[in-house]
Symmetry: none
Subunit: 207 residues, 2 copies
């Protein structure tokens, strides 16, 4: 790590960027960082560029660099039995790169209903779909049935291909879908993102 500790500056800039979706001018960065001299702000920006958190955009402006969107990954959390909070060195991960391998063939599809709840796909989630025309049985596919998109498991029996829901509790609500005419595969389920709505009000929890 360089002598100058740029991480606090980086953190504030990252927060600013997610708020405003822009890397501001040196003048505004000075305000954000509580730096009086624009020259010093300029120096910090240079360090951030050296570390590839920022880079030069055409026109002399700065934009996020490759490392700007790196997120720290904590130690494994045993959601079952608790696990030692071992101090493993923090890993870094870029969410977009992690989830999306072929940007041009990938779309996001919002989920309605609970027919796939057994696979951990809830209403309001966004599934990541990679375009494909074919699939194999057992795969989760986004299919077009009767002019509507639906996310189901592709299955096959003597009657041909059909689509299955994955909801044990409400299985009778989701009978297998056997297409009238054609079963058209739109893409494959390759991932999922979920944003939870956290209530703003917070109470203390120490005891």
């Amino acid at each position: 790590m360089q002598p100058l500790d740029i991480l606090p500056y980086l953190g504030k800039l990252q927060d600013y960027y997610t708020r405003e979706r822009i890397v501001p001018s040196t003048t505004r960065l000075s305000l954000l960082w509580n730096v009086k001299a624009r020259s010093w702000t300029h120096r910090i920006v240079q360090r951030l560029k050296e570390e590839r958190f920022l880079e030069n955009a055409p026109g002399g402006r700065a934009r996020p660099g490759p490392r700007f969107f790196e997120r720290t990954v904590g130690p494994m959390v045993r959601a079952g039995l608790p696990q030692q909070a071992a101090d493993v060195q923090p890993e870094l991960l870029r969410i977009d790169d992690y989830l999306i391998e072929n940007p041009s063939r990938t779309i996001l599809f919002p989920i309605k209903g609970d027919s796939m709840i057994d696979l951990g796909i809830l209403e309001g989630d966004m599934v990541i779909i990679e375009r494909a025309n074919t699939a194999s049985t057992g795969q989760v596919v986004l299919a077009i049935v009767d002019n509507e998109f639906t996310l189901k498991v592709l299955a096959q029996d003597k009657g041909g291909y059909y689509l299955e829901a994955r909801n044990e509790r409400k299985n009778q609500d989701y009978p297998p879908i056997r297409p009238e005419q054609k079963l058209e595969i739109y893409g494959l389920y390759v991932g999922l993102i979920r944003k939870t709505h956290v209530p703003g009000h917070r109470l203390s929890a120490s005891r």
Copy 2:
């Protein structure tokens, strides 16, 4: 639609933005759009702002507006098909932007175990945790109990605060956790990302 056809300009700007991840100055926009006069470029930018394709960022600069990432006409739009599948393009919008609100206070944690399966949190998922020292009951928290990380629902009764699992089927495997000494909140569960392993081999599925 306004008389001035701004869509060709918007298209070029979207392409530029995908490449450079920045909305350039009027001067550079003039070059991009083959417009001789910066004043005219400025007028087009104004129209784009009126239509909310662009908006003002602090400092008088322009940034993408709410409609910038809208897919105008998809390549595969079919009569009758709901547009919902194609309304967000990962090429233009970073998933990261969608999920992370406070980068400097956000950490990802990989999940092991199935104690939170009823909330759609599966083994191998990564939960997005926003650091916080306090939480309210009912919230999903990443807590440190007896020096160990665990993701659970914060609950409270006459005995004080405790942690609940969410797995109906294996409830007996996950009894409520009552901390010996202290229940320390590390952060709040604000989102989740999942990458599924898709078998590479693909068979045809038309019939």
